[in-house]
Symmetry: C2
Subunit: 190 residues, 2 copies
DNA sequence: GTCTATATCTGGATAGAC
DNA sequence: GTCTATCCAGATATAGAC
């Protein structure tokens, strides 16, 4: 199921990442994790304190990966508008939803400061990075001078997160694309 | 806990609606529903076939209520922009999230066509109603002629749904408001 | 219609052998 | 480090009494 070179601890984290993405925290049981990782109970409780501790390791890894992907796309060459466009149009597994954002709908994640922290940090960092790009475009005159960069960045992130909701509700990625195109049309420089 | 005039079946549905909102489908147990409704096992299995059947009744009721609220706000007097603004700014329990949209992150809801159907129908209907308003504004010249009404409507709904994600991640409704203000700034007629 | 009793399975964790 | 055995509570449902 995983590369033979992967340690048991790593297999446990990877299985947990997948299951958190597919089923969320409350929907993921230790048993399911162990089966997917082909590991026994003993291994899990040797490497991690329990379900929450393992989930925290998994969430951190996913959060770091997503932050890196976003930073990378937004640092590519191009005008501010083009970079935001690239962020919005980057390839996504739309129907699976956002592996970080979906955790905000999980009651046990929201109830735990430790589990929520990496989720909050990831979204805040991407939003800030987007705000920097918007501000740059504003200074250059590509965007209207009276726009608030932080607010536009929030709208961009929200459109992405909400796009997943639309897509999953309708069972089709088209709904995500429609929202993104709508936002880009409003943002497009004249 | 509920009005004494409320039937056992109604109490069960209301309890389920609350719990689905707070914890989602996978996070809600029949036991928790029964405790909140002050009902016994027998009542639940007499009135409903099981957890899924009860959840379906609860989701339908919530979906109908949300559709009615949206239609009502969007039908108020005012220019198209003002009506969209009213929809975006209407009072919301932001940190609790959207009782319909949150269900799209629930694996068991998405896996069941029966449970997903009312979620899909609600979002599609609100989006269509918004598209009609946008189209009206476009015809009147309040919005740019080259905008696609359906796409703008998708962006509006996505911003709301994604706004809940931002708010819950940060633990503050301010993040929702920022996204909404950003979108309104982009949409605002000159 | 509602109650209690019961059944079976899973959730989440511990204990101790190897 | 990993395994198996075991634990107790909860999830979901059925049976049958009242």
């Amino acid at each position: 199921m995983y590369s033979a070179a992967m340690s048991t601890a790593d297999r446990l984290v990877e299985s947990t990442r997948e299951l958190l993405w597919e089923r969320g925290y409350v929907g993921t049981s230790p048993k399911a994790i162990l089966e997917r990782a082909a590991a026994g109970q003993g291994s899990m409780y040797h490497h991690f304190k329990g379900k929450q501790d393992l989930a925290l390791a998994a969430i951190r890894r996913t959060a770091d990966e997503m932050t890196a992907t976003a930073e990378s796309v937004l640092s590519r060459p191009g005008t501010p508008y083009e970079r935001i466009e690239a962020y919005l149009l980057r390839e996504r597994d739309v129907l699976r939803g956002c592996p970080v954002g979906r955790l905000t709908m999980d009651p046990d994640v929201i109830a735990s400061d430790a589990l929520r922290a990496p989720v909050d940090a990831t979204i805040a960092r991407i939003r800030q990075r987007l705000a920097d790009v918007v501000e740059e475009g504003r200074q250059q005159g590509q965007f209207a001078a009276d726009l608030d960069a932080e607010e536009i960045a929030s709208a961009v992130v929200a459109t992405v997160q909400g796009g997943y909701v639309l897509a999953r509700a309708s069972g089709s990625p088209a709904a995500f694309d429609a929202g993104v195109r709508g936002l880009l049309a409003l943002l497009r420089p004249a």
